[in-house]
Symmetry: C2
C-alpha cells in the first residue's frame, strides 16, 4: 500500500497528518478512493457533488475549482485549498488533509470499562521443543507436532501446513503452535507464546470501535474508534441498503470494503501503538446491527428494509479472517455474534449479555437508543424484544443546528436565572451546534419553564421566562436562541417536532412492550440505557420529556457501549459466545409496526407528558 | 480462458485436435505455457532445448527453426512444421497440434472395474419447499432453511450464505441444499437433487486418472486419464522435488498448477461427455504417492528426497476445492487419502483398502510396482510396509528402445520355433519400442533358452538358439534384435543390467519383508500385483526372472489400478476414508535403506535365479 514512487498511470496521494501514502489510479474518483481505504469522509449524497460535505484540504496538487465546488465552498475556503473530494480526479501526486473527525469525545470516555470474567478465549499458544528427525524417528512433521501437543488429531489449514516444514527447521524443531481446539491457526519458529491477542469489534451504523485485548492476561491494551466509512454512502441502514440494490454489481462490495478498511485502520493503529504484530491477533468478535453484519460479510441485506423485514442470517457464525479481508492473522477466527431479528442485532445480544439481564430473576428493561431504538424486557425466564425507528435526530441529523457528539457540540444545557443558559460544550470550545443530549436537555428545560407546551409548540408570549430569546425565523416560525456567538445557534420549531417523533417512537415501544408483558413500572427492577447516547444524556431530561415512562430516576442505569462490552466478553471467554447464541434464541421478537395499537400509542406518545 | 480475439500483447493459440483456444502473452515460452494449461508435453530437460522431446506440429504461425531445433529434428520434420515447444516465443496467433499420448491402452482397460459397496458418500442433496415469509413468519432465511431441513444448526460458508437470499426467491422458496453433515455446500433454486456427483482421483507420477461417479446411484459414468503434466519438469519424484528446491519462488507453484490443470482438463472432458455441470461435483477423493500429494497441495516436499525422508503430512485431510483450484463445485470437499510414510503413500493405503488385506485373517502380500515399488505384508492383526527404488526401467526410461505402454510398444514377447519371436504390440501397430512388460517377457524368454546367463550376460555362442539375432553394437557390446522392421529394435546388454537393478530392488524388498515378518512362501495366501504394470505383465515371466520369490503362479493376483479403486471406495462411502486412516496408522513402516542386510540381499537378488 505504501510505495515511494508510483507506477505509470497512477499517482501518490499523501494524507496528512498521518502521512499515509497511497497509490491511486489516474482518473479515479478521490472520494471513493478515500472511503475504500477506510477514511471517514462525511457525505450525504454519496459522491454526487450535491451535498458539499466531502471536503479535503489540498496542500499540493491543487486544481481550479469545479462548478460544484464553487457552489459549496466559499471563496476563502477555495483559496485556502479546500476542495470536494468527489470532484477530484487526479493527474499528479497530491498531498492533502482529511478533516479529523474520527474520535469522538464520547467514545474516548465510554470505551474504557473494565470487565471481570474468567479468561478462556478458546485460542491458545503452545511452545514445543520437538526431537529432530533421524533414522530412528521418521515421523512426518505434522505427526511430530501432534505428538508434541499430545493430541490424536489436528486439522492444519493449507496455509499453516505450507509453513510447517520451513518453520520447524528455522530454530531446530522448536516452534509455537497457535490452535483453537484441534485446529491449528499458526506455527512460528521458537517461543512466541507471549504474542496472543484478540480484537472485539463493534460496528455501529455511525461509529466503528475496536478493543485490543491480551488473551494471555485478559488485559485491555488499546481502544480506537472512528466513524464508519460507510457513512459516505448514506447516514442510516436504509440508505445503505438502498445503495446495495441501486448498485447491483458493486454496491455490496463497496460497502463491505469500506467498513473492513475502517476496521483495518483501527487494527493497524492499535497494533502500532501497542507495538504488536497484527498477525498475533488470532480471534475477533463482532457485534453490530443486522444490516451492519450483513454488509460486513458481503451478504445482501436487501430483504431487511421492507416488510416482512427478513435477514439472511441470525445465528452466530465463525469465519476466517482472510475470507473477510480483515488484517489480523490470516487464519484468525472471526466470531460473528448472533442476532435476534432483522432489526434487533448482535449489538443487542451482546449488550444484554453484558447486563446479565438474561440470567437475572428480576425484571429488567434494556433500551439502546440510536437511529433505531431496540428494547428488550425480560428476565431469565422470558425475554421480549422490539425495535422502533427513532430516526436520526439524536445523532444531529434533520436538526437545523444538529451535529454529532464531536468537539464543538453543545452536550448539556441548564437554565440559570431568568434568561441565561449554562452550556456544556464538548472540547470546551466555541459551540458549533447541538448534539442529541443537548437537544433533550434544552427541550426538557424549556418544558420546565413552559416555553414549550404539552403539544410541543414553542410559545412566544412576552411574559414567559426566556421568551425574549424567541424570535421569528425567515419563514416566520418561532426559533429559540441557544447561543449568540459569531455563529448564533437556534432551536427551531421543526427541531422540536423531530425530537417529538423520535422520543414518541421510543416511548410507545417501551409502553407496548410493558403492556405485552403485563408489567407495571413498579415491576421493573432496573432500566439499562445502552449506547453512547444513553451514557451521555441527562436522565432527568429523558424522564422530563417523557421519552421513557416515569421510572424512579435511580432505576435508570447507563451502561455505555454495552455492545462492545459484550463483544469483549465473547472474546475473553468462549462460553460467552455460546451463551449469546442461547440468549438470542430465547428472545421473543415482535414486530412493532404490525402491532395493532401502535399508531394510537405512538400519537399519544408525541405529547410532552413527562414529569 | 477461451476468447475470440486476443488482447494487445497477447496471441491466440489454437490447439488441435480439441480446438482449445488459449490466450498467451507475447514472448511467453510455449512449452511452459502448455504445461501450465495441463497438456502433457514430453521433456526430460524441462524446457532447456537439450532433450528434443517437446515437439509440437505447427499448422499456422510457423517460424524458421532455431539452432536447437536443427539439431533435434530432421529436415523432413522441420519441413512438415514440427518444432520444439520450448523454442517457441510467439509473436502472432498460431494453430498447433500436440501429439496425442494422453490415454494409454492400459489405462483404458484397467480403469473399468466394478465396485460393490454400500452407497454412503456423506454428501447429500435435499429439496425443500419452504413457506414464504410474511407478517406471521419473520424467520431469517438461514433459520427457515435449517427448520426446513429439521436440523438445529447448519454452518453456511460465506460463499453459500451470499447466494441464499437470491436463490430462495428465484423459485418461490423452493430450493435444493447440498450438505455434508451440518455444513451447507451449495444452494440452488428448485429441485436439482438429480445432480450429485463425485470424482475419484489417482495422481500417479506418470499418469493422472479421474473417475466420475454418480453419488445418487453409485454408478461410474466416466473415466479419463492422461499423463501427469508435471512430467515436463522431471520423470520421477526426485527430479520434481529437485525442481522445487532449485526454483524456490516458483517451482512448487508451477508443479501444483501443472497437475491441477491436468486434473481440471480431465474434469471438463468427463463433464462434457456426461453432459453434467462441474459444479455438481461436490466431493473428490485423492490418492497418490506422498510427493504427488505434497505437490498437489502446494506443500514443500523437499525433506522427502534425502535421509531421513520426512514428509510434512501423513494423515488424511479435507480441503475445499477452491483452495486447490480444482474446478468442481467451489465448496466441494476434497478428501486427501492418508499416507503411511514418506515413500509409502495414499496410493498404497487406497490399494490395500481395495484388496481388503487389512481385514483378512490370512497373510497377504501387496506389491505395487512403479519407479518405486511399495510392498505391504500383513493381515488384520499386523501390517509391515517398505518401499524400494526400482528405478524407471519398467516405464521405459534408461532402456535403449524403451517406451511407456502406449501404442507402438511391444508389450508381450514369446519365443516360437528356433529363431522366431511372437510380439504383441499395443494398438497392433508397427513396433516403435518396448515397454516394461515386454522387457520382462523378453528377458524371461531369453533366460529360458539360456541366451542370458544367471549373471545377466547376453551370450554370443553360435550354437545357442536365437544366437544369430545377437550382434555387436557400435561399442562392440552384444545386442539382441527384437524386431527388424523399418526401425529395428534391439535389447542391449545395458538394458539387461537396468532390468536386473530394478527387479533386484523389488526382490530384495520382498525377501526382507518376509524375513522381518518371519514368514515363508507357504504362509502367504495371496500376492496382489497392483498398478497398470502389475496388471499387464505376464506373471510367469515375473517369476522366471525372479522379481518375486517362487510363489505358486495361482497365488499372484493382478488388481489393476488398486489406488484408483480405493479412492472410489472412499468416494462412495465415507466410512471407507475413516478406515483408510485407521489402516494407515496400523501399518508399521520400516526403512529398507537403513536395513542392515539390505546391500547383501540386493546384490544377491541381482542374479537370475528364478524358476
Amino acid at each position: 500500500m505504501i510505495r515511494d514512487t508510483a507506477r505509470a498511470n497512477s499517482h501518490v496521494v499523501t494524507i496528512l497528518p498521518q502521512e499515509d501514502r497511497l497509490e491511486i489510479e489516474e482518473g479515479e474518483n478521490l472520494f471513493r478512493f478515500l472511503v475504500r481505504h477506510g477514511y471517514s469522509i462525511p457525505s450525504s449524497c454519496g459522491g454526487m457533488g450535491t451535498c458539499g460535505k466531502c471536503r479535503v484540504l489540498i496542500h499540493k496538487g491543487l486544481k481550479p475549482p469545479t462548478e460544484s465546488e464553487e457552489v459549496h465552498l466559499s471563496r476563502a475556503e477555495l483559496d485556502q485549498g479546500w476542495r470536494l473530494s468527489c470532484q477530484q480526479r487526479l493527474n499528479c501526486d497530491v498531498v492533502l488533509e482529511v478533516p479529523q473527525i474520527d474520535e469522538t469525545i464520547q467514545a474516548k470516555e465510554l470505551l474504557k470499562q473494565e470487565l471481570h470474567i474468567a479468561l478462556d478465549p478458546g485460542i491458545e499458544k503452545v511452545y514445543l521443543e520437538l526431537p529432530s528427525p533421524g533414522k530412528e524417528d521418521q515421523r512426518p512433521d505434522t505427526i511430530r507436532i501432534q505428538e508434541g501437543l499430545r493430541v490424536e488429531r489436528m486439522a492444519f489449514p493449507l496455509s499453516v501446513l505450507r509453513k510447517v516444514p520451513h518453520v520447524l527447521r528455522v530454530k531446530n524443531f522448536t516452534a509455537t503452535i497457535t490452535k483453537e481446539k484441534d485446529r491449528a491457526l499458526d506455527i512460528e519458529p521458537g517461543d512466541t507464546t507471549g504474542g496472543l491477542y484478540g480484537l472485539a469489534i463493534d460496528i455501529g451504523t455511525t461509529t466503528v470501535a475496536g478493543y485490543l485485548l491480551n488473551l494471555n492476561s485478559g488485559q485491555e491494551i488499546g481502544v480506537r474508534s472512528q466513524m464508519n466509512p460507510q457513512k459516505s454512502f448514506g447516514a442510516d441502514v436504509i440508505a445503505r441498503i438502498k445503495h446495495v440494490y441501486e448498485h447491483k454489481e458493486t454496491g455490496l462490495k463497496e460497502l463491505q470494503e469500506a467498513v473492513v478498511s475502517g476496521i483495518n485502520r483501527i487494527i493497524h493503529q492499535l497494533c502500532q501503538t501497542a507495538t504488536i504484530q497484527p498477525a498475533h491477533i488470532y480471534k475477533a468478535t463482532v457485534a453490530g446491527n443486522p444490516t451492519m453484519l450483513h454488509l460486513f460479510t458481503t451478504v445482501d441485506p436487501s430483504q431487511i428494509d421492507h416488510s416482512p423485514y427478513i435477514p439472511v442470517l441470525r445465528d452466530g457464525t465463525i469465519i476466517s479472517a482472510n475470507e473477510l479481508g480483515l488484517e489480523i492473522n490470516s487464519e484468525g477466527r472471526v466470531y460473528i455474534i448472533p442476532a435476534i431479528s432483522g432489526y434487533v442485532g448482535a449489538d443487542i445480544t451482546a449488550g444484554v449479555l453484558f447486563t446479565n439481564l438474561h440470567e437475572s430473576s428480576k425484571l429488567s428493561l434494556f433500551v439502546d437508543i440510536g437511529t433505531n431504538a431496540e428494547i428488550v424486557l425480560g428476565n431469565r425466564e422470558r425475554m421480549l424484544a422490539c425495535s422502533t425507528p427513532a430516526g436520526p435526530a439524536f445523532e444531529g441529523a434533520l436538526i437545523r443546528y444538529g451535529m454529532s457528539a464531536t468537539p464543538g457540540a453543545i452536550a448539556h444545557v441548564l437554565l440559570s436565572g431568568d434568561s441565561e443558559l449554562s452550556l456544556e460544550v464538548i472540547g470546551n470550545s466555541t459551540p458549533r451546534g447541538i448534539c442529541g443530549s443537548g437537544l433533550i436537555d434544552l427541550i426538557a428545560e424549556l418544558r420546565k419553564v413552559e416555553l414549550i407546551n404539552e403539544k410541543g409548540k414553542l410559545l412566544t408570549q412576552d411574559n414567559l421566562h426566556y421568551a425574549k430569546r424567541v424570535t421569528p425565523d425567515e419563514r416566520s416560525q418561532p426559533q429559540f436562541l441557544v447561543s449568540d456567538g459569531a455563529k448564533p445557534i437556534y432551536l427551531t420549531q421543526q427541531d422540536i417536532r423531530e425530537l417529538q417523533l423520535a422520543k414518541g417512537a421510543i416511548r410507545s415501544g417501551v409502553d407496548i412492550v410493558l403492556h405485552e408483558w403485563g408489567a407495571g413500572l413498579e415491576d421493573i427492577d432496573i432500566v439499562y440505557l445502552a449506547g453512547a447516547f444513553g451514557n451521555y444524556v441527562r436522565r432527568e431530561s429523558v424522564l422530563r420529556i417523557g421519552m421513557l415512562p416515569p421510572f424512579p430516576l435511580k432505576k435508570l442505569k447507563p451502561v455505555g457501549n454495552a455492545a462492545g462490552q459484550g463483544a469483549k466478553l465473547c472474546l475473553l471467554n468462549q462460553e460467552e459466545w455460546i451463551k449469546a447464541q442461547e440468549l438470542a434464541e430465547q428472545v421473543q421478537y415482535f414486530e412493532l409496526s404490525y402491532y395493532k395499537g401502535f399508531s394510537d400509542s405512538f400519537i399519544e406518545s408525541l405529547y410532552f407528558k413527562g414529569i
